[in-house]
């Protein structure tokens, strides 16, 4: 695939309030940089992430969507990330089944102490999505200029 050198992907990162959002803050506190095309949306828990939101992001022009939550077993609400894990596994599998690049979606468990992991994960994810190029398979032409 031809990739425009100047093109950068749009990445939406959903972060749970208790672990991963704090982890993202920590990577800021430690001045660990990651690409600016990652934009974080705070949700109370990874289980708040409705598959609708992921599809919505792709429709509106996102090229990659990542969900970050507490490590399994550490959920602030005890069980939230377990549900999120099943839901996302099934959703990602379905997207793959429809022929949509599976590398565009990801779940990563990032604790409030893992600022470095957050930054590393984002760097790596942006790189992976950049390699894939623009999201064409789930875009909505009406959201483009």
């Amino acid at each position: 695939m031809q990739v425009d050198k100047n093109w950068t992907p749009t990445i939406v990162a959903f972060c749970c309030n208790w672990c991963s959002y704090a982890g993202a803050d920590l990577s800021g506190n430690n001045r660990l940089s990651y690409p600016a095309n990652v934009k974080i949306i705070r949700i109370p828990c990874s289980c708040r992430l409705n598959p609708m939101f992921i599809l919505r992001a792709f429709q509106r022009g996102a090229d990659g969507v990542i969900l970050c939550g507490c490590h399994p077993g550490d959920c602030h609400y005890t069980t939230g990330n377990y549900y999120a894990r099943r839901r996302m596994t099934l959703l990602f599998s379905m997207l793959d089944y429809l022929g949509i690049e599976k590398e565009r979606t990801r779940v990563e468990w990032v604790s409030a102490a893992e600022g470095a992991k957050f930054a590393a994960t984002m760097n790596e994810f942006v790189e992976a999505v950049t390699a894939l190029g623009e999201n064409k398979r789930l875009e909505d032409f009406r959201c483009k200029q």
Partner: protein, 325 residues
Amino acid sequence: MQAVIKKKAIELLESGTVNRVLGWKAGEFFYDLTPAVFTTPEQIEKDFVYSVFSGANMSKYLIDESKKEGKVAAFIKPCDGYSFVQLQKEHRIVRENIYAVGLACDGMCDMREIREAGIKGVTSVEEDGETLKIGTIYGEKTMAKKDALLERCVHCKSKKVVDCDEMIGENGEENRDCGRFDEVEKLEAMSPDERFAFWRSQLSRCIRCNACREVCPACSCVKCVFDNPNSGIAQKAAASDFEENNFHIIRAFHVAGRCTDCGECSRVCPEHIPLHLLNRKFIKDMNELYGFYQAGADFESKPPVMNYTTGDAEPSIVYARGGDK
């Protein structure tokens, strides 16, 4: 079979066990049976039909019927039976108001299969063992019954009626080896590009008539998110490729774990989109990742999407599965 069922229906009405019977009503042709409520033995004598074209899953009608005055008799085929139980689990139907008669079933035919076999202008059908003798305005044709079966009957997952007050015929068994995931596997074996092309060619035909949704016993929402102007994703027609995908992905997701794989969505799709392949993908994944689960097979279990174990597979398992990029 039809005679026995009609006799039972009349008996239930006359004995006062029920005040009405949900069944299939004769149409213009031999195949166009319409679900209907019968209230008198005369109506049953005249119009009640049970044939290989009584494929419609009528459990969804019981949502409303079971809330009306008095008891209603319903005839439950094995595959309808799973929906029947699932709807009970979801508190959608009032079981006390239903007299359920289980029916042993050895497969229902699909008019579309007959037409696609090139048989046009059909006017009559006769079952002759394993063969269907089909009368048409262009002369008589024959076809093997197995070639005319509904997709869901070709891969019949169970001949067991889970819950009924009495059975007509012998209750059967589950068949986990029915090959219903073969098509899904075929798709999984394709490359993502091929899969994408396959689904585009299918879903781009969708006319958003909502037949799949309206017929689906799991889609029993008071108002669907796609119809609710406040949901933020309401849509009436697929105005872009995305909306076609979105509707079918979200619909499959919403029924995941509750879908009994009754196959009605594919049966009614006017564009013949194999929608069951979406639902089956979820079922197959759930079976493989979280253990075999059949919605509507019991009254207690939690659907896998509403359950978890601490040792579940990580979503990254998806990267390891499916074809390569």
